[in-house]
Symmetry: C2
Subunit: 676 residues, 2 copies
């Protein structure tokens, strides 16, 4: 029998590795993609770790800065049922790595068993001798100092083994500590994958964005605005409490097949064209539209913004007007038709004749990729660290993954916002490939059920590990029906929702704060007289502007760390489905913000909101003894005492459609005091 | 600027692969482990597959027999929202492989766009010329015959392009078909992992097991039974409808520190010892206990079993009595104490002094692994194809994975049942590592909620891909409190549950059918006078034996394919929590079995069971129009007409605690007929 079965060798290096590691969280697509965090975050890692039999194991979380750094180790602790957890703080922006290692630990097992034998009244002299052998074995692995102390311990164990009168109680912690410095790791199991966490600066997680067209920054008349005009708007933007000013493309605009007002296919001589029809004789993606000024003017604008603590975000739209220099210099970067002409953008039966899409299947893809990357690096050299990327889902995905890697190597603090209004799998894939943030479906989530279910998807599934939402109630392309029909309260509702549901949000102003609500035509989500095709002028000082309200909401966000993270979020039941209520907790200080919004912009709504104290998660302070919560409405002012159970709210959209409450821990009752 | 950024090359082979593939199901731990199926099963594979932009993609499921076979391709079809599905039938026992490939298909895209342009009334002459170019490009990739027909098509498209009068309607399917034979796959994306499916014979999925101790097969008196006696029991076992007879270890039993009756630490001269204390001077794991007979006698027994269509399963318990030959020949395979003695099994404060565990950390592990493997191959050479493995969770896991690979290479039809009553992660990991089936927590799941939630875990989570439960109401180690206290109805309830919830189940008889219910002591799950330590005699002809009932349940299983799979299973609500109701559907023929059990062995229970026709999943025949179901009780007999809604049941445990209904499609109402 033995002759018939050849001696087949298993993989020698794995044979005696008895520990198994699986179910690691966070891990995206088997480590194919990095998880995302910001600097200073604590990364908590969990895994199922176990070995055969009853022996105890030691589990360590390993982490290092980048692929070349040296590993640091953190002990993981058991949560029960073979689940282990550990964490470490991410000290700097850039890529960090982590994995897990574990081993069966004979010494820990011996300590546990020894105390059980002693408890059971057994003779442990042999066990003590075996302990002495374990200690002796550790000496070679230990530093000289530790080794010296282990020699003493070995002696002591041998003396105890020979002495029927044992010391009482458990072994001193000192021995366990010394042995943990020199464990027997010959058969340790290293988790099969080294996982990556991309650490961004805080602005990738928390920030308020304001988009405006610099050419409309004049304020009166229809003169084409300049960077100098735009600079004048910065104080206005800063006073509203924004962190980022985002400009649509600032490059020369093509004249061939230029679009007229309201997207007319025929333009007249004065029409400025769409900033997204990029490229003219003056240059392409690295040039500045002459009507806006020079590159030096842009630099002055950016410096002025930074002086006001505003980051400048530029728009990168990889498409070319027929007049873009690349069309002449690199015709092979575009698709050609059977008649030799370049194929314009189309989505049958729609045609976009002012735009040529780029052909990512070109034979010259390498030069193309480098040129596209160098658009980013050009503006990074100009001090820009945030980019809003136009329609990334219509460009080849391998390109984005490569590009973002390149840019992050150059400046790990660079932030890219993906404008991918597309199907969910693609939207999420772009985030996995490296986009720091993404536009979302928020603009079209209006009901309580829609909002809750979307937020649960974003904050309670694996999506939260790699996808950072940036909530926009409007954009130059999106004037939702809700805003068109809901009047001033609709704008207030959508602002409060965006700013309190998501830690990153933005508005396209001035149309937002001035409550522009007219669509190009009924049923359209396009703005009438959209700035995409026209220079507009805005009366920023209008007394009905939402500017003070926006400033107030942004101030609340800034002063309350609970609103500086998108998740976790808890929704609180209400008996009126038009009323949505949710709370967030600052994980460090424990402050709680409870937001209650009337989603109906037309009518007063009232109802009962159910507030369990556990649900409010007042993690600082002592557990509630059923006392009252002190809540302060940070929007309308006023203090209330709320009970842990149901509380009545009534929101009149014509006054204020929302409360943003700061909740203080439950008030003490007499019985809480020690002298009671 | 360009000077400062070095030209970094992306991976050339990936750059233009625009399709992304993710979310593949089934896939266990990123392909680390195989999924399990049985021969003849259809393997359905789903994945998220998508590309940038609006181009159409083609998606193919690839599969092959083993790592060296050649790939076959099956088209996958879109389910919506970027989800694709495809399937193939597993033709033979052994390992099969599968993966996915996909590409952006310019021709499919062209066909779609062409019809849209035509519909919009656009001039498509250029499009037709471009189609001609695509067809010309395909010629080089096509067979000579296809190529010839493509030449004709290219001509036709060119003629149409020149002719303003186009043919009406869509392009003939012939061109699409021809082009699908020669697609442009230069930039196809292959999923990054080749996945494995382990295909077993059907007995791995569906079978009823009967365990008995051959030494107790005498029937009267306390003579030590032999294989010849055991052979006499085979007809009895077969007539009850079992598929597998499983014998506890049949090897010589050690005499050193042999256990006496009821696990006493001191034995007397006539005590037979535990069959799990393996090894004596007569030999170890490849020897036969002389009191049972010879190897030739075993062979005769096995052949007799096979003649009755019974597979023989042997027990493999890797532990040694102090008298096992390995202890003398390979002392290095065991752990030694500080005094040089071999360490017996222990779990402080418990000691198992009649057993030495094997040390999988031994330096001589390679020889050990081979010896352990050769225990299996010895019995496989003896014609045994099923093994019940004792406590695999206390042996090193890398060993099992290697071992099962070795055995499957020798006989892909070998079946290993894991006896791992341990924590969930370990139980599931053993299944992932290759065990064909596993013991479960079923014995301790008694309430409706416990049973439903456990079945949902087994059939609705990823567990179903690799873990096959084998439900045992009792074992020689487990006499549950429910059986101890519930009398005859308890045994009937647990039998029906095991046999209808899980497609594999087993009983330890004769104590099961004879309803042995006395524990060794109060609170213990051990049998009083356990066969583990004593030769017992059983009066198999006792008139109250459950034998006819068991035979009936096994016949129902055999005649109804719905019961030959563990999942899917649907639970039907009932207003009495003591009543559990569930149905299964034969995926091929559509037959439905509805089981209703009174879980209370002491009292009659009645209540309403809610039977929605959708929930019954009568997938054959036309959708229900609200007619009646004809149900036949296969246990007690009797036909009933049930309504799609709530139906009343009343189960008296003293008569029969369960119904097993065969459900026929809803009876037709007049309105179903065409002439109505």
């Amino acid at each position: 029998m033995e002759g018939t079965s050849p001696r087949i060798r298993p993989r020698r290096d794995l044979a005696r590795r008895r520990v198994q590691i699986e179910g690691v969280v966070p891990e995206v697509d088997a480590g194919r993609f990095a998880v995302k965090r910001v600097v200073g975050d604590e990364l908590r890692v969990e895994a199922d770790v176990f070995a055969d039999g009853h022996d105890l194991i030691a589990v360590r979380l390993l982490h290092r800065p980048g692929a070349e750094g040296s590993w640091e180790e953190v002990a993981m602790h058991p949560l029960g049922n073979d689940r282990w957890a550990g964490s470490f703080v991410l000290p700097r922006v850039g890529e960090h790595r982590y994995t897990i290692t574990a081993w069966v630990d004979p010494f820990l097992t011996w300590v546990r068993d020894l105390s059980k034998w002693i408890e059971a009244g057994e003779d442990v002299s042999l066990e003590l001798l075996e302990g002495a052998l374990l200690v002796a074995g550790a000496r070679d692995r230990a530093t000289a100092e530790v080794s010296g102390r282990l020699v003493e311990w070995e002696d002591r164990l041998r003396r105890w083994a020979a002495d029927p009168d044992l010391p009482e109680g458990p072994l001193p912690d000192e021995l366990t500590h010394l042995m943990s410095l020199a464990p027997d790791r010959r058969f340790e199991t290293r988790y099969g994958r080294e996982l990556r966490v991309r650490v961004d600066r805080e602005l990738a997680r928390f920030g308020a964005w304001y988009e405006f067209f610099p050419r409309s920054a004049v304020g009166e008349g229809d003169r084409h605005g300049t960077f100098a005009d735009a600079r004048e708007m910065l104080t206005y933007v800063r006073e509203m409490g924004f962190d980022v000013v985002y400009l649509p493309p600032i490059h020369p605009i093509g004249s061939t097949r230029r679009k007229g007002p309201n997207n007319r296919t025929i333009s007249e001589s004065g029409d400025p064209g769409s900033p997204w029809a990029i490229g003219a004789s003056e240059g392409g993606h690295t040039a500045v539209h002459p009507a806006l000024g020079t590159l030096a003017d842009f630099r002055t604008f950016r410096e002025a913004a930074e002086a006001q603590a505003l980051d400048v975000a530029l728009d990168v739209a990889f498409q070319c007007s027929p007049d873009h220099p690349w069309v002449k210099d690199h015709p092979e970067w575009f698709r050609h038709r059977a008649d030799g002409s370049i194929r314009h953008a189309e989505n049958p039966p729609k045609k976009y004749e002012d735009i040529f899409p780029i052909d990512f299947e070109t034979e010259d893809w390498e030069a193309l990729w480098v040129a596209l990357r160098d658009v980013f690096t050009f503006w990074m050299d100009e001090g820009v660290r945030i980019f809003r990327v136009d329609n990334p889902h219509t460009k080849a995905l391998p390109f984005w993954e490569w590009l973002i890697g390149e840019l992050k190597r150059r400046d790990p603090g660079v932030i890219l916002l993906s404008e991918a209004f597309t199907r969910p799998r693609m939207m999420y894939r772009l985030a996995k490939l490296g986009f720091s943030q993404s536009y979302t479906y928020f603009a079209w989530r209006n009901t309580r059920e829609e909002l809750e279910s979307y937020m649960n998807e974003l904050t309670r599934t694996e999506v939260r590990e790699y996808f950072r939402p940036n909530f926009w109630p409007n954009t130059p392309d999106i004037l939702t029906e809700y805003l068109q029909t809901g009047g001033r309260p609709a704008f207030m509702v959508r602002l409060v929702l965006a700013a309190t549901l998501s830690s990153s949000y933005g508005i396209y102003g001035p149309p937002f704060e001035l409550m522009e609500a007219s669509p190009r035509e009924p049923g359209s989500e396009e703005y009438l007289h959209s700035e995409k095709y026209e220079v507009r002028s805005w009366d920023l000082a209008r007394p009905d502007s939402l500017r003070p309200f926006i400033a107030q909401v942004n101030r609340i966000r800034r002063e309350n760390a609970a609103l500086q993270r998108t998740g976790p979020i808890r929704f609180h039941p209400s008996d009126n489905e038009r009323i949505i209520a949710y709370s967030k907790t600052d994980p460090e200080e424990g402050g709680v913000i409870l937001t209650v919004v009337n989603l109906d912009p037309h009518h007063k709504q009232s109802g009962w909101v159910d507030l369990e104290s556990e649900a409010l998660d007042l993690s600082v302070g002592k557990p509630s003894s059923g006392g009252l919560h002190s809540v302060e409405d940070l929007l309308a002012g006023g203090h209330y005492m709320w009970e842990p159970g149901r509380n009545f709210v009534r929101l009149d959209p014509s006054v204020s459609p929302a409360h943003i409450f700061r909740v203080s821990g439950p008030g003490r009752a007499e019985s809480d005091f020690e002298y009671f």
